[in-house]
């Protein structure tokens, strides 16, 4: 069976290569038959990769330890859901998983666009298949997921215990989905440059894909943060590790693109900039994959080296050279005469928001690669840690939050004093009231203070927009308030969906500011019955229990939580000892509320003295981070939901496609 998987990968490689060549030839020579053939080959790649992935999954589920991959990342005692997750838990499997998503998306893109975008599609197919070709050649020549062991292993080495977690099942697939779907806008960008059709057509076509990619990057980052928070047990959710930065950078640039593209749609400006952002987002996804795979930059995730680094760098350079070359070639045609007229305009606010987002991405990039650069240039490795990223990004983040409030409501072209008064009186008053409340409640004048204040300002603009929209409908159409609200949102999905996303972003900002500025951390060794204080909570260590199964053994501390003389919870932080690979892990116990998380870690337990070291964190407002994520997801769904007219058009197109061409 694995031989068939290997054959499928090899054949997929051949088909991908064929598809690139025929699509390009068909595009350049305007030969529809070749273009068709290239498309069919792309479908074949999709089918073959599905077969290969299914075979690897089957081998995992059947515990076929003759395969090196299965033996390295699973075992016969691993729970089924994690056996499935082992498909992307190791390097080889994750590369195959990557191609799987890419080829499925390619098939969807072909079906959606082969009638609509005939001039662009040959180059879109060629670009997507070039990417598939690269990954497939890694799988064929460098890291074969179907490699047999010389002697079958009796038992597997098992998945890393840190990855045996609910969130870890969801985090990689959503991040990969975000990464891979960024290839679709990239492919259309390349196609627009290659074919010379630089108008708005390609921008409109990829709008949903860009949003889709962005939303999965958002989700992937937040799930990763959630995983780190629950599993790593250091009380935080983001450590500016290179691997985290790798996922954060494309998100930043993609966010910039989603904003600046509105300027192009409305004003036909920033065409060059938008192309650059699309190309950059894709380049950063490849760079991110390179970071996580190569071990070039030492991170907690990647101490061991793998030989894939040079290939990724090579592919990245290839992508940059080709796309940069095309961009320079089309530069004269891309330029537009329109210019921004005033600083006080929506165009300017969006432009500055873009500069700040790209600036943050630049700072994160610089901090991430700095150790490597310093080693090349000066011969010594100099690292920068979380303090660097926090220092640089905190002020930039504040500017961004301010612009989040300004951008949606300031007038296009040039804001008149009247527009400014109308748009900003209420939000500024909200911010001032917030500042007063913050000062009175003794919040120190720091980043957190300004984040809360600007968050209220931005929230004020969003609230005002909803309020005015609903009031206008009520006045004109005599609708009830809920009906007016749902109609308002339904008729302007992009606009109001975007506002909901902004509410989520504000919530995330507030959560980050509060939990970094006001977190409490206490560590104390306790004997049975002894107590410790963590913020407003009193913790009593009651007892320790042990349990064991085939997979792992547990050491569990029972801690009762008291507040104002009342027992409010029992928490049970654990130490787990996995049997293979032999590895201890920390299992955090949490009591999460809207105002704060009480987060307990069993630091250590000493049998001789019966001392348990309890580490307690009180992290304010961390729930707002996940809540913000939910808002962002809802907002994105509202934005992407097709309007009635679009649904009719799609139904028509699908119906029309069924009619034979002859």
């Amino acid at each position: 069976m694995p031989e068939i998987g290997r054959l499928a990968v090899c054949l997929a490689l051949l088909f991908a290569g064929y598809s690139v060549v025929t699509s390009l030839l068909g595009g350049v020579r305007r030969r529809p038959d070749l273009v068709r053939s290239g498309e069919h080959a792309a479908f074949a790649v999709g089918a073959l990769v599905v077969v290969a992935a299914a075979i690897l999954l089957r081998a995992l589920l059947q515990h076929d330890f003759t395969l090196e991959y299965v033996a390295a990342y699973s075992s016969s005692t691993l729970p089924t859901q994690y056996t499935v997750a082992a498909l992307w838990g190791g390097q080889k499997g994750s590369l195959l998983f990557w191609v799987l998503i890419l080829s499925l998306f390619t098939a969807i893109v072909e079906v959606q666009n082969r009638e609509r975008n005939r001039a662009l599609m040959p180059y879109v197919t060629a670009t997507l298949m070039t990417i598939a070709f690269f990954f497939l050649s890694l799988l064929t020549f460098i890291t074969d997921p179907f490699e047999r062991l010389p002697v079958a292993a009796r038992e597997g080495a098992d998945l890393n215990p840190l990855l045996q977690n609910y969130w870890m099942m969801l985090h990689p697939p959503s991040l990969y989905t975000g990464y891979v779907s960024a290839a679709v806008p990239f492919a259309f960008g390349i196609a627009a440059l290659a074919s010379g059709r630089l108008g708005d057509q390609w921008i409109r076509t990829v709008r949903r894909w860009a949003l889709f990619s962005w939303s999965f990057l958002t989700l992937g980052n937040l799930l990763g943060a959630r995983w780190a928070y629950e599993v790593l047990g250091w009380g935080g959710y983001w450590a500016w590790d290179p691997v985290e930065n790798a996922a954060f950078m494309p998100w930043l640039v993609s966010t910039a693109y989603l904003h600046s593209v509105m300027i192009q749609e409305k004003k036909d400006m920033l065409r060059v900039w938008n192309v650059v952002l699309v190309l950059l987002t894709f380049a950063l996804t490849i760079f991110g994959t390179f970071l996580t795979r190569s071990g070039v930059i030492s991170s907690v995730h990647s101490f061991t080296q793998s030989g894939l680094g040079p290939f990724f760098i090579g592919f990245l350079l290839f992508a940059i050279v080709v796309s940069g070359g095309l961009l320079v070639y089309r530069l004269p045609e891309l330029r537009t005469p329109a210019t921004i007229e005033s600083f006080l305009s929506r165009e300017a606010a969006f432009l500055f928001n873009n500069l700040v987002l790209v600036g943050i991405a630049f700072a994160v990039f610089w901090g991430t690669v700095f150790p490597v650069l310093s080693e090349w240039v000066r011969g010594v490795k100099i690292t920068v840690g979380p303090p660097f990223f926090n220092r640089v990004n905190a002020p930039l983040g504040l500017v961004l939050l301010f612009l989040t409030g300004v951008g949606p409501v300031i007038a296009w072209r040039r804001a008149s004093p009247r527009n400014l008064r109308r748009a900003f009186t209420a939000p500024v008053l909200t911010a001032l009231v917030a500042a007063g409340v913050l000062s009175l409640s003794g919040v120190p004048l720091g980043y957190a203070y300004f984040t809360f204040m600007l968050g209220c300002f931005a929230l004020g603009t969003v609230g005002q927009e909803f309020w005015r929209g609903v009031r206008a409908r009520q006045a004109m159409l005599h609708e009830s308030a809920p009906r007016a609200l749902s109609r308002l949102v339904g008729k302007n999905r992009r606009r109001y969906g975007g506002y909901v996303v902004h509410v989520g972003v504000i919530s995330v900002f507030v959560a980050i500011a509060a939990s970094s500025a006001f977190r409490i951390e206490v560590t104390q060794p306790l004997k049975r019955g002894e107590e410790m204080q963590a913020g407003k909570f009193r913790l009593r260590y009651e007892q320790i229990t042990t349990s064991e199964d085939a997979h792992l053994s547990r050491l569990t501390a029972q801690v009762s939580v008291w507040q104002n003389g009342q027992r409010i919870a029992m928490l049970a932080p654990e130490k787990r000892f996995y049997k293979k690979p032999q590895q201890p892990t920390t299992e955090v116990a949490m009591r999460s509320t809207l105002t704060e998380d009480l987060y307990l870690v069993l630091g250590s337990y000493d049998r001789d003295s019966d001392l348990a070291t309890i580490q307690a964190y009180v992290n304010p407002l961390v729930s707002w981070l996940w809540l913000g994520g939910i808002f962002m997801a809802c907002g994105t769904i509202i934005t992407m939901w097709p309007a009635a007219a679009e649904r009719r058009a799609t139904a028509y197109a699908l119906g029309g496609a069924r009619v034979p061409a002859e």
Partner: protein
């Protein structure tokens, strides 16, 4: 045209601000990252500075006091030679044990490292740790 020029200036200002933040950030927060061998060669030049040193936990050197959460061990080469004493106070990292590769972040003074943080090399996410040949 005037506004156009003002925009270029505005963009340049943002660019300059970001560059300055990066520059100042690196100046004030960066630290050296040494392999143990490099550290041994130049440790006297970096007394009192924040730095990171990568090495192995020497067999038989680990002393952990649960009552005070104090950890003492020697950072050494893989064959246990060239030990440098390390003192640390806090929670013992999960993967910490004798013979393991660790990164110590802290300051070097009076012949020993005072650690602020100890990072253990978690067996990588994607590749099982291979035995060094």
């Amino acid at each position: 045209m005037l506004t156009q020029r003002r925009f270029v200036i505005g963009a340049a200002l943002i660019g300059a601000a970001v560059s300055y933040l990066v520059y100042a950030g690196i100046r004030t927060t960066s630290m050296y990252y040494f392999e143990l061998g490099e550290f041994l060669a130049q440790r006297d030049a970096h007394v009192g500075e924040a730095l990171r040193v990568k090495g192995f936990v020497r067999h038989g050197s680990m002393r952990w006091d649960a009552r005070t959460s104090e950890l003492a061990f020697d950072l050494a080469r893989q064959d246990d030679s060239d030990p440098v004493p390390v003192a640390y106070r806090g929670i013992l990292p999960d993967m910490f044990s004798e013979g393991r590769e660790v990164v110590v972040e802290g300051r070097y003074q009076n012949g020993s490292l005072t650690a602020r943080q100890i990072m253990t090399s978690c067996p990588s996410k994607y590749e099982p740790a291979k035995a060094p040949s």
